[in-house]
Symmetry: D2
Subunit: 146 residues, 4 copies
């Protein structure tokens, strides 16, 4: 069975984090890992783009009921219609997670992940005890798959 | 963007419904349709098997937190940990649905789908006003994609 | 601990069903039963009004995030922001349920309740195997508390 | 309409935080505020006890389907059966929140609350930008109702 890794992060972040997310998407796709994310813009779009350009499989769990909210690089957009309760599904569905920058929504996902004992690798994200910091996309991918 | 069709139905059903589900999975996969289902046994397993043997893409939205509950033919098992609240996500994520036999869980999904105006094709399932009856797997697939 | 009974039914129903719902609310309140419902209009508003005028305690589990969607007779409006996934919470929270008229949303709740083995008393609602039919508000309340 | 305040915090915390939670429950009940919480032990039980001894109204949104998981001081135990997805409902249902100590579950609730712009008052809890720190139960209650 293929591994499933969650990639979480903000909709509005600096370009350097979008670059990191793209690179994470590329690396995970090249290792044939399924990516689960929130399906919207920013980090979510960048990671899907990186995966998409490398034939990766991406799932976007959208907060709204409207599939049109998905970024154009999501392969499988799933419209939950449950608002931010979908954050929990992203976390539950992932075997481990990479968090890139992000605001309160990302923080809620980090907390839910750590609450269930899941590994969370951080790239320029919230400095919460339990998050394992990585210095590059490559290191983040290596750490999350260890 | 690929179409996403939900296939719903019971865990414990007669062999003839498993055969129908397998055939529905085969036909949808051959048309390059993504299948969303509940990820468990019975109809869900049969439709995933039919799709899997034809290189189809299947998503299993599991009620539990444990990915090991997924049937072996689910390509992307997503553990929601939300119990039967995941029924709503199956419905929301699907552009239209095929219901095959099934008990009360399936009925709740049919009702949620009709409540949001989604098309539901029925194969030996609950006789609810609004469900469009099909006589074969082929007819069901044709009707759901119309 | 006080009993918790769910009362489910449509937003748009004939006057006779509103009268039944009002009466169910009155009878449950007089027996000091907590009522859980969907918090909106129609049957939900009528049952809350009947309870409210008899010092009953009512909980309205709203689909939206906005508490202002609650009918004016809900004592405790809880805004779930989860859309119709809140149907499941109404069902899970109730020890048994009374269904009055209603459309597909009500049908989904009936199905979810029967799926978990909960007792459902019906007043002019969907004719689903497992629903126990009552002929009056009084009979419905007696049956649901048996 | 009565105000609804969420009180969140850990199941396993030091006695001083239980004392704070009890006092918060007492003060909110005396002001006729409805308290929403997670319905389990620790901070959740202490705040319900404080409210209960002052005729307060408390709602416990339980993660499990089993109402027996509720602490004995919850007036209205609602079994969501949705696991930690119920954290979001606690947050959505509250007009503002008081967070007392707590671990990752509490952090997820703080983050979800701040994400939707809700006021969060903190008593010995996570030091997250946006949380307004209080030095006593009385100050927390005053701040949350401002």
């Amino acid at each position: 069975m293929q591994k499933i890794i969650g990639v979480i992060g903000g909709s509005f972040v600096e370009q350097k984090y979008l670059d990191l997310a793209f690179e994470v998407g590329r690396l995970l796709a090249q290792k044939d890992i399924i990516i689960v994310c929130g399906g919207l813009g920013g980090v979510m779009e960048a990671v899907c783009k990186g995966a998409s350009e490398n034939d990766g499989l991406t799932v976007g769990l959208l907060p709204a009921s409207d599939i049109k909210m998905a970024n154009p690089y999501v392969k499988i957009p799933l419209a939950t219609g449950m608002g931010s309760a979908r954050n929990k599904i992203i976390v539950e569905s992932s075997q481990a997670l990479i968090a890139i920058a992000g605001a309160y929504g990302t923080l809620s996902e980090i907390a839910l992940a750590l609450d269930t004992g899941k590994k969370v690798i951080g790239l320029g994200t919230w400095d919460i005890p339990g998050v394992i910091k990585a210095g590059s996309a490559k290191e983040a991918v290596n750490l999350v798959l260890e």
